[in-house]
């Protein structure tokens, strides 16, 4: 808690310093230049003037950014900067928070996800999510993976299915195997698919959660600090996995670990205190020569 307060205070001082040296208008213009990331092809996700309030707290301010497909986009910034809030806006997870008030636009392949007619179940199938702490269901490894496809009606198994003349056991096995292989877990669990998932190590549980997310064939995978609860070896496996997933999926990952962002992402967005996106660019540019002094101060650990 004290760390958060310190970061908030120092970042505020930094803002004041910048304001003294640059007029408000040109600062605004520069910020737009620093956050307007250019890339070839249409964006997978396009966010425009996104604002989020939790009650009176303005958690995200006028955030606009386009996210390219089949790449890893890292979101970094101090605690309370709004990066997780931003991530949760990308599949409308914030809808579940009563006091959250969201304005702006988020388009997935050009379609507005905040349109009242959006099918939320379908949206969250296309935009999956992996959380900080591994949270497998207290079920078998197999059931963890097949839960999603069953809920979405992609497969039918069990007694009822058999009575109705449909049993997708082979399809289920195929999905379980494919998902576990994609999540680099198959080798370790293929001989105990019916064991309880809670018996797996933390790193294995997290890869299982990624496999569970992959089982419904998403297009975008949102990850909220997916390796922060894991040891270095498990972290390394998750990082390798994220890089591999980016060949087929659009990955957006929130991380507190800047070295991790540097290692795994193609582009990095830096949010600073106050819910402001300050700079968004190729990851090597951000970590070698950021434009904003505030970003430089944040990533080098100096404030003010």
């Amino acid at each position: 808690m004290s760390e958060t307060i310190t970061e908030t205070e120092t970042a505020t001082e930094s803002t004041t310093d910048s304001a003294q040296t640059t007029s408000g208008e040109s600062q605004e213009r520069l910020r737009e230049e620093w956050t307007h990331y250019r890339f070839d092809g249409p964006p997978k996700l396009s966010v425009e003037d996104l604002n989020v309030w939790y009650g009176d707290d303005h958690a995200l301010k006028d955030v606009s950014m386009d996210i390219p497909e089949k790449s890893v986009t890292a979101l970094i910034g101090p605690s309370g900067c709004g990066k997780s809030t931003f991530l949760r806006c990308l599949n409308r997870m914030n809808d579940r928070i009563n006091i959250a008030n969201i304005e702006g636009s988020v388009e997935l392949d050009g379609s507005e996800i905040y349109d009242p007619n959006t099918n939320l179940v379908e949206l969250r199938k296309r935009v999956g999510m992996v959380f900080q702490a591994p949270n497998p269901f207290p079920k078998s490894i197999r059931d963890n993976i097949s839960y999603g496809p069953r809920k979405h009606g992609d497969i039918e198994t069990g007694l009822l299915a058999r009575l109705l003349g449909r049993d997708d056991k082979d399809e289920e096995q195929e999905i379980v195997e494919r998902s576990l292989k994609q999540a680099a877990l198959w080798e370790e669990v293929s001989d105990r698919l019916d064991d309880n998932a809670l018996g797996l190590s933390g790193g294995q549980q997290q890869r299982l959660c990624i496999a569970r997310c992959l089982a419904v064939d998403p297009e975008v995978i949102l990850m909220d600090e997916p390796a922060s609860a894991l040891d270095p070896i498990a972290t390394s496996k998750i990082e390798d996995l994220i890089e591999e997933l980016a060949e087929d999926y659009t990955v957006v990952v929130v991380t507190h670990n800047m070295q991790q962002a540097a290692r795994i992402s193609d582009q990095t967005a830096v949010f600073l205190t106050g819910g402001e996106l300050v700079e968004y660019d190729d990851t090597d540019k951000i970590f070698e020569n950021p434009e904003s002094q505030r970003v430089e101060d944040y990533i080098t650990g100096k404030f003010g």
Binding site: M258, Q259, A262, F287, E288, N289, P290, V295, E296, I299, T300, G301, K302
Partner: protein, 223 residues
């Protein structure tokens, strides 16, 4: 803590650079005054320079491994890592110079080459190093460009000096009582020395180029 480490590395590189510059200037004095004792001192001191160089290189590696620097810090540690090598090479060249001072005294032929302004050329190179170190210490990008732009002039002066020595060799080759004809080995040494002075300038340009990259994120001066 990490910030202190990078700042301390910066100060150490500057201090090391100033020591190297001092050795180089002393070596020029040894050549100028045919002072074998001073030359010995410089040659003996090279081990200490090498030790200091290795310690600073180790400090750069520690900065990478332990501090995982980014942005300006990363550019500083990367530049320092490369600059240290150039500085160590300049110290080696100073040792060569000192060794030559001893040769010239031994052969008593140094004055034969009085027509070649060796010390003046050396001081020109030393001034380039001085400015490159000043630019590193102060973050002066314009000064970096100034150092790079003087390299052509140094090269011209070195080429002219070499031409003078070769001309003398040719002109006096038939005169048995000419000192230069009596000591062709010394002539060769002086030619090597001229080349070394030119290299000191190249290393000074490298220091300036890395400094320019460090402050401007621009490798324009590197090649």
């Amino acid at each position: 803590m990490a910030e202190d480490r990078v700042e301390s590395l910066r100060a150490d590189v500057i201090a090391f650079g100033r020591v190297v510059e001092g050795r180089f200037r002393q070596a020029l004095t040894a050549v100028d005054t045919f002072d074998p004792e001073l030359a010995d001192e410089i040659i003996d001191g090279d081990a200490e320079i090498n030790q200091r160089y290795l310690a600073l290189e180790g400090e750069c590696i520690d900065c990478f491994a332990l501090g995982q620097p980014v942005a300006g810090d990363l550019r500083l540690v990367t530049a320092a890592f490369k600059i240290l090598t150039d500085l160590e090479r300049i110290a080696d060249l100073a040792t060569n110079l000192a060794a030559l001072a001893e040769t010239l005294v031994g052969d008593d032929t140094g004055e034969t080459f009085a027509a070649v302004p060796l010390v003046e050329i050396g001081e020109f190179a030393a001034a380039m190093l001085d400015d490159a170190l000043h630019a590193f210490a102060e973050g002066d990008a314009e000064l970096c460009k100034g150092v790079a732009s003087r390299d052509d002039r140094l090269n011209e002066r070195c080429a002219a000096a070499s031409a003078t020595i070769i001309r003398q060799l040719v002109e006096y080759s038939g005169e048995a009582d000419s000192p230069i004809a009596a000591a062709p080995a010394a002539a060769r040494e002086v030619l090597v020395l001229v080349r070394d002075l030119e290299r000191v300038g190249d290393h000074a340009v490298n220091v300036a180029a890395r400094t320019y990259y460090m402050f401007e994120f621009d490798d324009a001066l590197l090649y």
